[in-house]
């Protein structure tokens, strides 16, 4: 279409322009700008670069697909041990950071009038160097402070060396969601100041104390994959998952049981379980003497006492404790953000003790490879710096890509302290709240444009390389630091002799090579590392012993600010998409509906319906939340998944800057939190205050995606109990008579028309509802791959969201203790599609490979097909949507960009199918099973979606289509879909 051609030319032009304006050094003017010149770059063929995702600290390996020099899609790196080829929605949205229309494009300096004016890199760096040199000359280098995000590897080393060379304070590497309490508790319990790795794949029982590991905790992609494997019914067994906590989070909806607790009492529940295990003698590997001392420590925590204080019934606690002790293996997880109270460390010590007495430390918990999160500076340390700033002790503050004005509670006084610093530099890539207060902004290149490395776990050395030349006049932080050091000169320059950060990186990797592969020449090692995305070492696990310090622990119930007039406990939880707020400027992460509430473009306060009724609050009412520390206004969302007396607010919105997508939306709940850190760990206590709610009398229109929560007997998302599965089909899972085959199934009357002949392939899918956890990575991947427009809040409110795949959430049972089922719904590519006969112009038809094809340039937009689709997966372009520059550079050139009036829907990524077929044909071979993977299947961290050729009896998808758990959605309509869903398995109550 002319749109694509125009864009292609536009893109070539921009690509050429970018190569010229990229860096301060003039680059040769090439039509196809590349950082690593490749011998065979063919326009129309993609080049893939391995790098590391930096959207959160988990550090998943990433492959970036580039076309004609621009990054168009990111996928997981199959070789990377953390994510093994999968990527979450935040990772998929990394390209929207690169191409964000609100990026800072060149250095800025605050002028005399107070506005930020563009300035050259030369000037900017000279300015910074001048300040540093002056401070050194005046003998006050200690007044320089650097705050960076949690970086590791070469950049961390460089920042440390730079700070040392300046003579300034040691740099702080901060990460707001770094689980400091977990680390401190490990120090107290085991003498190890670290965060261990968790292996949950083979667990029999997983217990989570308010730890949302499928969303934002530690390494969600890795844990999601392991969790799905744990839940897969194998040889008649499957892992069970029980969640304890005050809120039914997305992670909790994937549990077999949610045991509500009073907020902040997770530690008490854990201690009660320790008490029970010890008192019943179930503590297998615990030496007798330790057991005695532990019994003394937890003597007060009888199940009845615990029930009184936590609300957890004694019999549930007993049942759970017994099962956890008997699980081979089992695990109790703690340390999640939402449960971090003023007693977070002792809470986590309690969980550690539980794991210890149940015998799981050293099995499911491994202290060999530890997480980089365990090396983040604590909130208390950052607070120390803020106090130093307030005292006027800091003359130069370098904020390297951190946004404390948003991510610290205002009560901490960062804004006031910042005003006392005479020279503040920010290296933010986006105009965030902190950059708005800086004197000098040196915009960093985004991770997709930069060299670097990241070691999220010991031994996992991920290597980052730029996938595209920098779009704007930005520089990587490492280059800036080296350049400034050079300008300062003297000893500082001598300590940092590298010309660019690339050189520093390579030097550090020389060390790695010497250690890991001394026989290999460095260039070979380097090239291989670049190709693979890093090098991985196996780190042996450490033996772990209980530390004597643990016996001195005093367990107290956490204190909460607020008085009798503040009836609600405030829960603040990180948003799966916006994380701590860093993702708020990516439009996909705003448009993706929250898995639990379905809300988009908004933040909200979740109120229990009973409380809401009592207060006269209806959904959408704007309520004011007030704590002793601050006040915010948020629309109310009625949710039975928060306990009465508890309100929950997601983190991540409430930006006052940060670009057009983030600004002016929702409210930042940090305004309600106190400033004091939790004592032993130095963590920010997220669950620390009570609030009062008052109606403001105003309403906020809400954009909620999703229809009914209830299936009303339609049998859309089905489940089967483990007992039934075993009884009917045996542990091996033989096909039941009449089980799904390719085509008509269970229908008594033969169809009127002969079935479609599929001479070569019939493409189909199998989606495992037992694996799908509702994370929405598939949706984000589809947006990226298929040029799906973002429509904005107003249009979402009208039901016009354009996603081709959506996660439907259904609940069964009472709303207070629902059984939740997530179902990815996309075009079913029905063999007997209702949409095909009704299109007057043949814009949709059944192609010989089983796809229901939509021909965009034939569609006149009668919309009959959408009316007739029972799955309602067809999306109509009500407008011609625009991609504000440079977001249009992200468009996949293999997929048409649709204009208004045209219907669209999932195509099973037909461009990938055709690409795969072309490749196979060019190589003169047949297609292999698993070679063609649509974007959704590719990204799913739980591996819930399988795609392949139903006509190939050996293919994975054909095997799954015959699975005894298989069924089709709305089968009774005789649409004969190509997608088989596998029923979710209910393991049955604990102890059975």
């Amino acid at each position: 279409m002319n749109v694509t051609r125009r864009d292609f030319l536009k893109v070539l032009g921009t690509g050429a322009a970018a190569s010229v304006t990229g860096c301060s050094a003039p680059l040769p003017d090439k039509l196809i700008p590349l950082v690593i010149p490749a011998e065979e770059v063919i326009p129309g063929e993609a080049t893939w670069y391995a790098t590391v995702c930096r959207e959160c600290p988990a550090g998943c390996g990433m492959l970036v697909r580039t076309r004609e020099g621009r990054a168009v899609k990111v996928e997981g790196n199959p070789d990377h041990p953390v994510n093994q080829g999968r990527l979450c929605a935040r990772g998929q949205a990394a390209v929207q950071g690169l191409y964000n229309p609100d990026r800072i494009r060149q250095p800025l300096r605050r002028s005399g009038t107070g506005t930020l004016e563009p300035v050259s890199w030369e000037e900017a760096e000279q300015l910074l160097a001048g300040h540093v040199a002056r401070l050194q000359a005046e003998g006050r280098p200690g007044r320089v402070a650097v705050v960076a995000p949690l970086v590791t590897g070469s950049l961390a080393q460089l920042i440390e060396t730079w700070s040392q060379a300046v003579g300034g304070r040691p740099p702080l590497f901060v990460e707001p969601l770094a689980a400091h309490a977990l680390r401190a508790a490990n120090r107290l319990s085991f003498g190890l100041d670290a965060i261990p790795s968790y292996q949950i794949e083979t667990l029999e029982l997983l217990v989570s104390f308010s730890t949302d590991f499928l969303e934002t905790w530690l390494s969600p992609v890795e844990l999601a994959r392991q969790f799905a494997a744990m839940r897969a019914p194998r040889a008649g067994r499957m892992g069970r998952f029980v969640y304890l906590g005050p809120r039914l989070s997305m992670t909790a909806t994937n549990a077999d049981e949610w045991l509500p607790l009073r907020p902040g009492t997770e530690g008490l529940a854990a201690l009660g379980m320790v008490h029970l295990i010890l008192s019943e003698g179930l503590g297998a590997g615990v030496p007798a003497e330790e057991a005695g001392r532990l019994r003394q420590l937890v003597a007060a925590y009888t199940p009845e006492a615990v029930e009184r204080r936590t609300g957890l019934p004694a019999r549930d606690l007993t049942r759970l404790a017994r099962s956890l002790a008997q699980a081979r293996p089992g695990l109790a997880l703690g340390g999640g953000t939402v449960g971090t109270t003023r007693s977070a460390t002792t809470t986590q010590v309690a969980v550690n003790l539980l794991n210890y007495v149940a015998g799981h430390v050293g099995r499911a918990i491994q202290f060999g490879p530890t997480s980089a999160l365990g090396r983040a500076a604590t909130y208390q340390e950052l607070l120390g710096l803020v106090q130093a700033m307030a005292r006027g002790e800091i003359d130069l503050l370098l904020l390297a890509g951190v946004n404390p004005l948003f991510s610290l509670p205002p009560a901490a006084g960062f804004q006031q302290a910042l005003a006392k610093v005479p020279f503040v530099i920010s290296t933010a890539s986006f105009p965030d709240e902190t950059a708005a207060h800086a004197h000098l902004v040196l915009p960093e290149s985004t991770p997709l444009e930069s060299w670097g490395d990241h070691t999220p776990w010991d031994g996992v050395h991920g290597l980052m390389q730029p996938a595209t030349t920098p779009l704007y006049q930005t520089k990587p932080l490492g280059d800036v630091l080296l350049s400034v050091a050079r300008r300062v000169g003297g000893a500082m320059a001598a300590r940092l002799p590298w010309a660019t950060f690339y050189d520093a990186l390579r030097d550090r990797w020389r060390e790695l090579q010497r250690r890991l592969a001394p026989a290999t020449p460095f260039e070979t090692f380097w090239a291989e590392a670049l190709r693979r995305g890093g090098v991985w070492e196996a780190i042996p696990p450490k033996r772990v012993r209980l530390s004597p310090a643990v016996f001195r622990t005093t367990f107290v119930e956490p204190a909460l600010s607020g008085s009798q007039d503040d009836p609600f406990v405030l829960l603040v939880y990180p948003s799966i998409f916006r994380y701590d707020g860093r993702g708020a400027n990516r439009p996909w992460l705003q448009e993706l509906p929250d898995p639990v509430t379905g809300m988009t473009w908004e933040s909200w306060v979740e109120v229990n319906p009973q409380d809401a009724r009592r207060l006269g609050i209806t959904q959408g009412d704007l309520v004011a939340l007030r704590s002793p520390h601050g006040q915010v206004e948020l629309p109310a969302y009625l949710y039975a998944g928060v306990q009465p007396g508890v309100v929950a607010v997601p983190l991540g919105q409430g930006h006052t800057r940060y670009g057009r997508y983030a600004q002016g939306r929702g409210a930042n709940p940090l305004a309600l939190l106190p400033a004091e850190p939790e004592a032993p760990s130095g963590a920010l206590p997220w669950l620390a205050t009570r609030v009062r709610l008052t109606r403001t009398g105003r309403r906020q229109p809400l954009a909620i995606v999703g229809g009914s929560e209830r299936q009303e007997g339609r049998g859309i998302a089905q489940s089967i109990s483990l007992a039934d599965l075993l009884r009917d089909h045996g542990a091996g899972g033989a096909a039941r008579p009449g089980a799904a085959k390719d085509g008509a199934d269970g229908h008594k009357a033969p169809p009127l028309y002969p079935p479609h002949p599929h001479p070569v392939h019939r493409w189909g899918m199998a989606i495992d509802l037992n694996a799908c956890n509702g994370c929405g990575a598939c949706v984000a991947a589809c947006y990226a791959e298929n040029n799906i427009p973002v429509v904005g809040k107003e249009q979402v409110a009208k039901g016009r969201v354009m996603s081709w795949i959506r996660i439907e959430r259904f609940i069964e049972g009472p709303a207070e203790r629902p059984e939740t089922r997530f179902l990815p719904m996309l075009c079913q590519h029905c063999d007997n599609a209702p949409c095909e006969p009704v299109c007057p112009v043949y814009a949709t038809y059944h192609n010989p490979e089983g796809l229901n094809a939509q021909v965009y340039n034939r569609c006149v937009g009668t919309r009959y097909c959408s009316n007739n689709c029972p799955y309602k997966v067809r999306r109509f372009n009500w407008f011609t949507h625009k991609w504000p520059e440079p977001l249009h550079l992200q468009l996949n050139p293999d997929v048409t960009v649709r204009e208004m009036g045209v219907m669209e829907k999932c195509t099973f990524c037909v461009q990938r199918i055709k690409g795969g077929q072309a490749r196979a044909k060019a190589e003169g071979r047949k297609l292999r099973d698993g070679e063609i993977v649509p974007a959704c299947a590719q990204s799913c961290p739980a591996q819930a979606i399988v795609f392949g050729d139903l006509k190939d009896p050996q293919s994975e998808v054909a095997r799954l289509a015959r699975d005894p758990r298989g069924y089709r959605v709305l089968e009774e309509l005789n649409t004969l879909p190509a997608i088989t869903y596998l029923r979710k398995v209910q393991p049955g109550p604990l102890g059975s």
């Binding site: 009303e712 016009r800 009704v838 007057p840 112009v841 006149v860 009959y864 007739n868 109509f876 372009n877």
Partner: protein
């Protein structure tokens, strides 16, 4: 009537409608054109910005545009019933009424035909729905009910237009004979050389009978085909076999209401009380009772079956309509379409208030279309930009009717004359009194 009607009197009375219009007419025309202008502006906005401005929301993809289409095609049916079916049955009260009714048919079809184009996402490609020999050999999808619509409505339009202009021939000839200048030439063209000879009359009435027969079949078939737009879909609430007779009955019902709604002011405005007598209006009202009862029965069957099947989707669909967001439209529909026409059972009502009731029935029908055709009324948001469509359709239709009223005889001269006793050649009264019918 005071003096007995003669042919000359008929000519004079019925051709006075063609005289220069007065202030009221120009006022009506001005308002009409203003509304139409606004509608054109609204449509241009929609064309350039996108169908999104029309307020249609997923998953309810058809809203006021389609319901308007169905409504106007329905209106057309009653005209054809009166002009064709009642002709075949030689109904005595038909002649004065039929011309306006047939005009309603033609103009309603012209109005209806706009909406399939307006509701398209890419209306500049509307011709892809027509079976033309395309370069790539790509024909239309004959399995699609929308294509059946194209054939049905175009056939109906063709036949109705031919029928209309054929029926006009003797009347236009009279007008031609009395006109001068350019008017005479135009009327002459339309009269196609009519001289009123016996031979011409013989051929003429044969042709007229043929078209009446063709049109009769169309009364039943066209709206059945239009109803299959819905019935052929698998949606609960739409997928029902009652739709064809239901729509046809409803079509005739609303068409009668439209005819009544137009004739009553028309007879006042043009002082045609002698021709469009209360008896004629009474007959139309009585027909409305019959069609209203059929429509009522169809509602009972449609919704009763929804309950009887026990299918949760069907029942939910019915409950949404009866008790949900648009319950007011549903009950308005039932009230206006079924209950209100029962008022015509009383003789006084039949003879004195038909106008009000006609309007009621009309709008009831419109509400019916909106309420009844939406499977999920909670999702339907009929927003402001769609209301120009409704007014636009009314304005467009009414414009043509206004033009028709002043350029062509609104009552059929020759058929009215057929009802009169045949005059003697010497002009001394009729040959015989009595019912119409030509003497051999």
């Amino acid at each position: 009537m005071e003096a007995p009607l003669t042919y000359a009197r008929v000519d004079r009375d019925l051709l006075t409608t063609l005289r220069a219009p007065g202030r009221l007419y120009y006022a009506l025309l001005a308002v009409d054109l203003a509304v139409l202008g606004w509608a054109i502006y609204a449509w241009r906005y929609q064309l350039t910005t996108g169908l999104g401005v029309a307020g249609i929301t997923h998953p309810v993809m058809w809203a006021v545009y389609i319901t308007n289409f169905v409504f106007w095609v329905g209106i057309a049916h009653s005209g054809t019933l009166i002009s064709a079916i009642l002709y075949l049955f030689r109904v005595r009260w038909r002649p004065p009424v039929y011309r306006s009714a047939e005009a309603v048919t033609v103009f309603a079809l012209m109005t209806a035909g706009l909406f399939p184009i307006i509701h398209l996402g890419r209306p500049w490609y509307f011709y892809w729905l027509l079976p033309y020999p395309q370069m790539g050999g790509l024909w239309i999808n004959f399995r699609s009910p929308l294509i059946w619509d194209v054939f049905a409505v175009l056939t109906y339009m063709t036949v109705s237009v031919i029928f209309f202009f054929t029926g006009l021939v003797p009347d236009v000839a009279v007008a031609r004979d009395q006109a001068t200048g350019w008017r005479r030439r135009i009327y002459g063209l339309l009269a196609q050389g009519w001289q009123g000879t016996d031979r011409q009359w013989r051929h003429y009435t044969s042709a007229y009978l043929l078209f009446a027969g063709l049109a009769t079949a169309l009364v039943v078939s066209v709206h059945s085909v239009v109803s299959w737009d819905f019935a052929m879909a698998i949606l609960p609430g739409w997928h029902s076999t009652i739709f064809a007779p239901y729509f046809v009955a409803g079509a005739i019902h609303s068409g009668l209401a439209m005819v009544l709604a137009l004739l009553i002011p028309l007879r006042r405005a043009f002082r045609l009380e002698a021709y469009l007598t209360p008896d004629h209006l009474e007959r139309l009202a009585q027909l409305t009772i019959v069609t209203g009862l059929i429509v009522g029965y169809a509602y009972m069957v449609e919704y009763g079956m929804a309950w009887y099947t026990g299918d949760p989707a069907e029942q939910a669909s019915f409950l949404w309509r009866a008790t949900g967001h648009y319950a007011w439209a549903f009950w308005l529909m039932v009230g206006c379409n079924v209950l209100a026409p029962l008022g015509f059972c009383a003789r006084q009502v039949r003879r004195s208030m038909p106008w009000l009731l006609g309007i009621l029935a009309n709008h009831g029908r419109e509400a019916a279309r909106t309420a009844a055709r939406h499977p999920d009324p909670q999702r339907l948001a009929v927003r402001t930009p769609e209301s120009p469509a409704v007014s636009a359709a009314d304005a467009w239709f009414f414009l043509w009717f206004l033009l028709f009223a002043k350029t062509l005889p609104v009552v059929s001269l020759w058929e009215v004359k057929e009802l009169l006793p045949v005059p003697r050649r010497d002009g001394r009264g009729p040959v015989q009194e009595g019912p119409a019918g030509r003497q051999p």
